[in-house]
């Protein structure tokens, strides 16, 4: 395989791993291993949450450099598992580029769970967390309905590529509106419990924890990016809540 092909494939693989939810160190490690298996003298990889930089230097000291911008995430742990398997396979067998490409595209084409199942999952999550934070059974039922609606809204937004902050404001406002209306109509007792259950679907808590993990393990820039992204999203969610709460008289500014 020549360096250009290797560079292109490495960037593709790195991008897809990052999109599927790999940690920074995993992507860097994988790209380095693959480069060495294909006889590169050195591979300089720098990955942050939104960009991959890769320079490969071959045995005759010629180097190629590439960057890849990553702007969209779609956590899919099954795909991540398969990309990981693929990189293991590459390192163990050093196959031809055509075979690698074929296997890579196969994984890339795979679809996630169907929308109805995802809606069900969201309903289950929000009902569970409403109970978890001390809501009653009827709160949980209301929360499940709101969670299902929330997933549909998020899905619709993902099709239209709305700005991240704006889409979170809308989603959280919709959830709060539903929660307050349900409680007014007698379907549910405590609107804050319903909201908190649904917030778990939106809030970037995992990103917050991962950001601190990144920073402690030395990936400071990635950690900062993730931390601020998490804070901004949390801010957007709170703003959506406040919008609705003002209308229902729950808060005054």
């Amino acid at each position: 395989m020549n360096s250009d092909e290797l560079l292109k494939f490495s960037l593709d693989l790195g991008e897809q791993m990052l999109v599927s939810g790999a940690e920074i160190s995993r992507v860097e490690d994988t790209l380095q291993r693959i480069a060495h298996v294909f006889g590169c003298k050195s591979a300089d990889v720098f990955v942050i949450t939104s960009v991959i930089f890769l320079t490969l230097t071959d045995s005759e000291d010629r180097s190629v450099t590439g960057t890849r911008r990553v702007s969209r995430y779609d956590t899919n742990l099954d795909k991540l598992h398969k990309y990981n398997d693929l990189s293991r396979y590459i390192c163990a067998n050093v196959p031809e580029i055509d075979e690698i490409r074929e296997r890579f595209e196969e994984v890339k084409q795979e679809k996630g769970y169907s929308l109805p199942l995802q809606v069900f999952a969201c309903a289950m999550i929000s009902a569970s967390f409403t109970l978890f934070f001390g809501g009653s059974a009827i709160d949980a039922a209301a929360s499940a309905v709101a969670g299902a609606v929330l997933k549909l809204i998020v899905f619709a937004q993902s099709k239209t590529k709305v700005n991240m902050v704006f889409s979170n404001v809308i989603s959280s406002a919709a959830v709060c509106l539903l929660a307050f209306s349900f409680v007014r109509l007698g379907f549910g007792e405590d609107s804050s419990k319903i909201i908190v259950g649904n917030i778990m679907l939106l809030i970037p808590g995992v990103a917050l924890t991962n950001s601190i993990r990144d920073m402690i393990s030395g990936d400071i820039i990635s950690g900062m990016l993730r931390l601020f992204e998490a804070l901004i999203i949390a801010f957007a969610i709170a703003a959506g809540y406040i919008l609705v709460a003002l209308m229902f008289g729950g808060v005054t500014l």
Binding site: G21, A22, E23, R26, T75, N76, L77, D78, K79, L80, H81, N84, D85, G112, Y113, L117, Q118, F120, A121, C122, M124, I125, A127, S128, F129, L131, F132, F133, G134, V196, I199, M200, I203, P204, G205, V206, L208, T209, N210, S211, I212, R213, I216, S217, A230, L231, A234, F235, I237, A238, A239, Y241, I242, V251, L253
Partner: protein, 159 residues
């Protein structure tokens, strides 16, 4: 008795919440069950530590994160899959998601004292979790480096 009931309910809902997230993150079959059980394990450890050992929420989070990471590392090796698969879902019930939300809603609502209190608490919890994870995963990485080192040495002398 009712407290006990609440704990059981929380552990059960942690299980179902984690299961929902593993569905959402596209985990398949047995791996889904393993990650959901990880979620339940995390909250069980949290509750037990809180009841019988140290009554500090941060320490409980730290201990529970360590337990989930050990669990995730073990099953990642058994199932030959990235540790993240079980880790991300396993810690979900301990994530300071609602605290982060309240922090920001206090900020928007002009309640600055509460904003600071909850904000600091949120960061502390996230740190407790992160440090718990880091401690275990670093230990595992060191242990596996040592193992491969000796394994290679042994192989080297034989050939």
């Amino acid at each position: 008795m009712s407290e006990f009931k609440l704990y059981i309910l929380q552990i059960a809902t942690a299980f179902f919440g984690a299961m929902g997230f593993s569905l959402l993150y596209n985990t398949r079959r047995t791996k889904m069950l393993i990650s959901a059980l990880g979620g339940a394990l995390g909250w069980t450890v949290f509750t037990l530590v809180k009841l019988y050992a140290v009554d500090s929420e941060l320490f409980c989070l730290f201990a529970a994160a360590m337990a989930v990471t050990v669990y995730a590392e073990i099953f990642a090796r058994i199932k030959k899959t990235p540790t993240t698969t079980f880790l991300v879902v396993g810690i979900i019930s301990m994530i300071p998601g609602s605290a982060l939300y309240y922090t920001m809603s206090y900020a928007v609502g002009n309640d600055l004292d509460k904003f600071l209190d909850t904000g600091v608490y949120t960061l502390k919890s996230a740190m407790a979790l992160a440090v718990g994870i880091i401690v275990v995963s670093t230990a595992v990485r060191m242990a596996s480096a040592v193992v491969t080192h000796f394994y290679k040495k042994k192989k080297g002398t034989e050939t």
